[in-house]
């Protein structure tokens, strides 16, 4: 289990333990954390699971593949540190990672 902290756009924090091997998206959805819709269930098809990943964690997660880059490019609230959380597998290296959520996923 790895501790991930999800921060809603309004500042509300949710600290949960997520099983390694699940994705950051699944950790949110399965813990009823609002702010991540994940309509497609993790197929990188919908771009409704965006989070902002602080720079210090970037090196610890796999780089974006082309599909994710282009999907993010068309999301309304995309920033430089945006990621689709369905594409981030949870590992020990992410212990204590804080991810922030955008104002909306649409």
């Amino acid at each position: 289990m790895t501790k991930i902290i999800y921060v809603e756009h309004n500042g509300t924090e949710h600290e949960v333990d997520v099983a390694n091997g699940l994705t950051v998206m699944e950790g949110a959805v399965k813990n009823m954390i609002p702010g991540i819709d994940a309509d497609c269930g993790g197929a990188c098809a919908c771009a409704t699971c965006m989070v902002f990943v602080p720079a210090e964690w970037e090196a610890k997660i796999p780089p974006k593949e082309d599909m994710e880059i282009t999907m993010l490019d068309f999301c309304e609230h995309t920033q430089e540190n945006s990621r689709l959380s369905c594409q981030i597998p949870v590992t020990d290296a992410l212990e204590g990672m804080r991810v922030e959520m955008p104002e909306s996923q649409h």
């Binding site: 699944e26 197929a43 282009t70 999907m71 068309f74």
Partner: protein, 413 residues
């Protein structure tokens, strides 16, 4: 109130434990509804995602527990009563009760019908032989996986999404795969011939045999299917068969209850049926769509999720209008097909990229110049931009759409 239901608090009852029902339950609790919720489902499992069933789950790439929409513990924590392996048999609208097949009675204040759909069964001689499978549930997939042996001969009946996704996974597992499609091309119901022919080319390149314009007339075998007969002299050897010829909305409960049903349970944009205390969401509904200006019955996760949210709002006195551009996806081999909108009635198909070579292009569907749909194969920008433009009813210049030197973000003049 009848005897069996005595003492039961009247609350929200959800019939159907699929994507729409699960979304409604989650939205009810996150929305602050604290009253009783009972969910009745005819499967053994808590609500799970169906799209991966013909994709990653069939391929053995994700485990069973990752299919769950919410963890099993969620329902207890959220104080949701789960009644599984149970079929709702009737709705007594006068007394506001749901009756189950095993004689139990569930009184409701508000009722959500989220019964989804079931597979269309093939009605030809030999239909009941062993080895003929459908794909709709976890149990169905487990049955198919038990036949997944390298070198086994699989005949897929139906060249739609399910059939082609199964063919792709089976091929990757080293099976001999033949797809039989009645129409003159695969996916004929949903895409332009350009896209059909592309998928036929890719499947053939991967080693799948695709036969179009053939109709199965029967299955032969001694207790177990051994041959698929097409009645025109063509006979295909099969160790097992997967049939994917469409789905039928589960509307019988609503019909029997006297609700307005016409190609699905008729609801408004807030999921309200013709009974003020009964709502419906997901595959089983026929709902208005303001983007297209007519009614739709959709078979998609997006539709189930959004109507689930609207139903939760409506059952608790709110109003969340459902009025969005439908979208769908299909994964086959390394192809991600993303579809936005509905192409029926298009007057022009505009191609961006080369469908004859490679594995990445998009087809835009225009109706009198207005974008109404897109099929995007490994083309996320085309898909994402089109979702916005369809909602805006944008008129687009076909020459610009074809011109790949113009980025999708600049496609509107």
């Amino acid at each position: 109130m009848s005897g069996e239901s005595a003492g039961r608090a009247r609350g929200i009852v959800v019939v159907g434990a699929g994507q729409a029902g699960a979304q409604a339950v989650a939205s009810l609790r996150t929305g602050g509804y604290e009253g009783p919720i009972t969910m009745i489902g005819d499967e053994t499992y808590a609500p799970y995602q169906r799209p991966p069933l013909s994709k990653k789950f069939l391929a053995g790439e994700i485990s069973f527990d990752r299919l769950y929409i919410k963890p099993v513990e969620f329902y207890a924590q959220a104080n949701v009563e789960l009644v599984f392996d149970t079929r709702a048999a009737a709705i007594n609208r006068a007394d506001k009760e749901v009756l189950t097949g095993d004689g139990r009675v569930f009184p409701y204040s508000k009722l959500l019908i989220a019964t989804g759909s079931r597979v269309r069964e093939i009605n030809v001689p030999g239909f009941d032989l062993d080895g003929i499978h459908y794909l709709r549930s976890i149990a169905d997939v487990q049955g198919i996986q038990s036949k997944f042996r390298e070198g086994a001969r699989l005949v897929v009946v139906g060249g739609g999404y399910i059939g082609l996704e199964v063919a792709a996974v089976a091929k990757k597992h080293g099976l001999h795969v033949t797809v039989l499609e009645t129409a003159d091309r695969v996916m004929a119901r949903v895409v332009d011939p350009i896209v059909s022919h592309f998928y036929e080319r890719v499947h053939r390149a991967e080693g799948v045999i695709i036969e179009t314009g053939v109709t199965v007339s029967g299955f032969e075998g001694n207790g177990r299917v051994e041959k698929v007969d097409c009645g025109d002299g063509r006979l295909y050897d099969a160790d097992f068969v997967v049939v994917g010829i469409g789905i039928i909305p589960n509307t019988e409960l609503a019909v029997d209850a006297g609700l307005h049903v016409e190609n699905g349970i008729v609801v408004d944009e807030f999921t309200r049926t013709s009974d003020p205390d009964i709502f419906a969401a997901g595959d089983c509904t026929n709902h208005p769509n303001g983007v297209y200006g007519h009614r739709l019955r959709l078979e998609s996760v997006h539709n189930a999720i959004e109507q689930g949210k609207s139903a939760a709002a409506a059952m608790t006195g709110g109003a969340l209008e459902y009025n969005q551009v439908p979208w769908f996806w299909s994964d086959q081999y390394d192809l991600k097909l993303q579809i936005a909108g509905l192409s029926s009635g298009y007057t022009q198909a505009v191609v961006r990229g080369d469908p004859e070579a490679g594995r990445s292009f998009a087809v835009f569907y225009l109706k009198d110049g207005m974008l109404i749909a897109v099929d995007a194969i490994n083309r996320a920008p085309e898909f994402m931009m089109s979702r916005l433009l369809i909602a805006q009813k944008a008129k687009l210049d076909p020459a610009r759409l074809r011109d790949e030197s113009i980025a999708m973000k600049q496609i509107v003049q």
